[in-house]
Symmetry: C2
Subunit: 269 residues, 2 copies
């Protein structure tokens, strides 16, 4: 029996089973995690989307409600979460949550943190965290007052918030990402933020930019000339690297998630 078990357990060690636990049918925060897998061609199970009958109830069982944690892991605050078979307590699955936390975990395992050792790892991390902050601010353009309220019930506040994000916050973030591209220009000619190859900082910043093109098309078009390194060179070259995935049916359309298109919130002229 030992000879039969050997290869199986070896296989499991080199190719763990990754499960993404997230809401079905929206890119949302799960998309940052999907992009990490897709950029490296590593297989994963997107439970709620792949098993339309029972998948989401498994996500809800682990991530939503008042449980004290599953399989020896602490409770999850909210999706997305990752479940990695065999990597957790007593040989159970490891369950971790929080988008940046999942990215940090995968960055190391999948090789998406550059080749510059510890320092590049922390620079990649801070860029991804900053992009996810921007993601939250964009979410708040249509939900400035309460996540539990409808957009229609906070539309006046949304108009003010969206104006502030478009006029003050986007240029601040875009300037920061652009300056980082310039800092790294010798290594990557504005194609990567850190080092000489794709990291999860790139995929995470890219996804926020892509969502912004959907949510604020006029604003983004107007900003294009101001930030060509970011919105032209970087955006298009990362898009090219992700092409196979973006053209697949696994890439979900934006709808009523973080990025929403309300014409009244976009630039008006």
């Amino acid at each position: 029996m030992a000879t039969q078990q050997e290869p199986a357990s070896k296989k499991q060690r080199t190719q763990p089973t990754y499960e993404l636990l997230y809401h079905p049918q929206i890119p949302g925060r799960g998309e940052f995690i999907r992009l990490a897998f897709e950029a490296k061609g590593v297989s994963y199970t997107d439970i709620a989307n792949e098993d339309s009958k029972n998948g989401y109830s498994k996500v809800q069982d682990i991530c939503i409600g008042d449980n004290l944690g599953k399989e020896g892991n602490p409770p999850v605050f909210s999706p997305p979460a990752l479940r990695i078979s065999g990597a957790g307590p007593d040989g159970n699955a490891l369950i971790i949550s929080q988008t940046p936390n999942c990215l940090i975990y995968l960055g190391d395992k999948l090789g998406l943190v550059g080749s510059g050792g510890e320092q590049e790892k922390f620079w990649v991390q801070q860029l991804a965290l900053t992009a996810l902050d921007l993601n939250n601010e964009v979410h708040d353009t249509h939900h400035p007052v309460g996540v539990s309220l409808y957009y229609e019930d906070q539309k006046e506040e949304s108009l003010r918030k969206a104006k502030d994000v478009r006029e003050n916050r986007l240029p601040k973030f875009f300037s920061y990402f652009t300056r980082t591209l310039k800092w790294n220009a010798e290594k990557a000619k504005h194609r990567y933020l850190v080092g000489e190859s794709l990291t999860y900082a790139d995929t995470t910043v890219w996804q926020v930019l892509d969502g912004l093109y959907f949510a604020f098309p006029k604003e983004m078009q107007a900003r294009q000339k101001e930030f060509p390194e970011l919105l032209d060179t970087f955006y298009n070259s990362v898009k090219e690297e992700l092409k196979a995935y973006l053209e697949s049916n696994r890439r979900l359309a934006y709808s009523q998630g973080v990025f929403r298109y309300y014409p009244e919130l976009d630039r008006q002229s």
Copy 2:
């Protein structure tokens, strides 16, 4: 000379020079980083507060404005940041930013991630990230529409936002932290969130709770009975561990930072 240099360079390796780059005179997001140092009794320089003449201009030089990074490091989006002498590019200082990123770095170096290996590290990380999300939501109770506007110019929106945070968000976060304490009860009797000793998840959650006591005293008093493990056992035992620091003059008073006391935003009865 070699015999004289030996101990000096050895000392530098075991005790690097940590500099905290942050705004002066407010606890703010810098406080999460201060608590990590203070909990372990590791010395650090709080530049803007310790050198009142030139300190803040050094912070601004590195963290604010349109630079392309300093000492070979990429640019910083905004404070807080950490500068660690000798740990960066070509023997220069390492400069990293983003509160959770600094905590992840220090968690490892200072021994604030428990003793349970990789899995505990990621659980500590997700708890700190969630507490910092709550910190952002609390900030938005007085700035829901725009960070660049005064509170007085968004007071109506603040009343709605604060109500949502108090009534819906606080119980959701408190329930999550409480369930984590219960999950870990066998190891820590509700005194630590992960493992058997203090981690930066504990200090980070604690700081947000402490700020909430300042900003929403009536709301917190009313919640006390609902979440005794969190607001009584955990809050007080972590406070006890931090006692020496909290009683020192290095602990700054809350004022006009993330946590502000506006009676009209608190529970009214």
